[in-house]
Symmetry: C2
Subunit: 279 residues, 2 copies
Amino acid sequence: MKHWRRQERLVYITKYLVQHPGETINLNFFAATLGVAKSSISEDLALVKSALRRGGLGWVETELGAAGGVRYWPGGEVEEARALAYRLCEKIADIRRFIPGGFLYLTDIAFSPQLMAQVGDIFAANFQPRRPDYVVTVETKGIPIALMTARSLGVSLVTARREHRVTEGSAVSMSYVSGSTQRLQTMSLARRALPTGARVVLIDDFMKAGGTARGLRELLREFKAQIVGIGVLMEMAEPPQKLVQDYLSLLVFEGIDEERQEVRVRPSDWLLAEKGGEV
Amino acid sequence: MKHWRRQERLVYITKYLVQHPGETINLNFFAATLGVAKSSISEDLALVKSALRRGGLGWVETELGAAGGVRYWPGGEVEEARALAYRLCEKIADIRRFIPGGFLYLTDIAFSPQLMAQVGDIFAANFQPRRPDYVVTVETKGIPIALMTARSLGVSLVTARREHRVTEGSAVSMSYVSGSTQRLQTMSLARRALPTGARVVLIDDFMKAGGTARGLRELLREFKAQIVGIGVLMEMAEPPQKLVQDYLSLLVFEGIDEERQEVRVRPSDWLLAEKGGEV
């Protein structure tokens, strides 16, 4: 095989890393695929690393040793998260989204692959230092965000179901009261879905009082899982006291003023420059 | 701002294109962001294009004119699809997946972000020439594949629900008989989820007789949608006559031999080299 020139290699390596976030890739793989010495690959990687850093596009981590290699993590800097949050607010604060009964139509946003990929990058950047093994969510609207977060973290997604499926074997079930519907709900997770003692991040689209997150926490206790982070796309301002602590939200929903035809939604505190000071 | 050197620009442009599949990006955007002339960007793009093509990593399309720009489509060549299909078969043909009642545990695969991203690339490469506006699926297990397909196509995902949600406004509902459970099921799609006359690709995880796909087709008739493609991860060999025609599957499930402890699954015909001849 004719070996690849540096400019081509930079394209190949960048594309490969970006498509495999969180995965450790041995330098020998690149050397063999591109037909050059490992030392050339090291130089290529240094270039890729600095260009990505310069563009705020993520970072490349090098692990030394025989089992070593490189790993790419997507960006997700605070400025980027803030810009996305404002863009989402603008999209959401559209009175045409209003649905009689006091609801807001958000399904298109929760299922947008493009938007949820960006949200996933932001959650991944925040939770990656806690080294989770799994992302866990409950069906249905949290799945796209959770899937994209898991992809950016390079881990698997586990989805609790609303009803037990015979096709999934033995399962653990849990009843809880959902804050948004005030109804008794059930969630269920197959025994084989999660090994004992895993480190997990919980991801959902919406949090009112945190009933679903608490239900999930109870359910995960049966799997001796350790919850190392909780992320939600949007929390409701009310009630301010949630049933779970230490969660990360992107947006705060303050309500709909039907008379003034106004949807009130804003970025979460950690994204507000005027409050965050040095962020 | 200090302008970016070519090597850095190649990394930036590659990363940006790969993160925005199917989106038309104006050359002025790259020129402004990287602080160089549009002619330099054109040269960069030619390099990116040829390196991606050489690596079988996708292709870059140039659109001329004022509204023109470049668009990236992920790879998804037949060899790649075949390799993935064989890898999935190996994963699936594991007797530990067997669940009493004649079922197979596949949830971990259907929810794997890494695997479903690859499946999404393959579906996108196959359906992209038909220029779909939307990907449509039914909750729950089809969502990850459908989301990744929509992402690779650069379009939105629309998900029919199992029950009507008050939070989504007026909706169209449809009853159908699911082939896999032989039960009467309902699916429902919010009126505002899909504009009239859209070109859609249907994506699901599993097809037995095609009852779900036919139900979706009926449902979409209410939206005057044109179905330009149907993709499923795995179809059952039985019954060979499905209720819908012209679908693309990756795998064929031939059954479980409980006595011999054997799971029989294989790549679909179009991926079998010995049958496909020239593929």
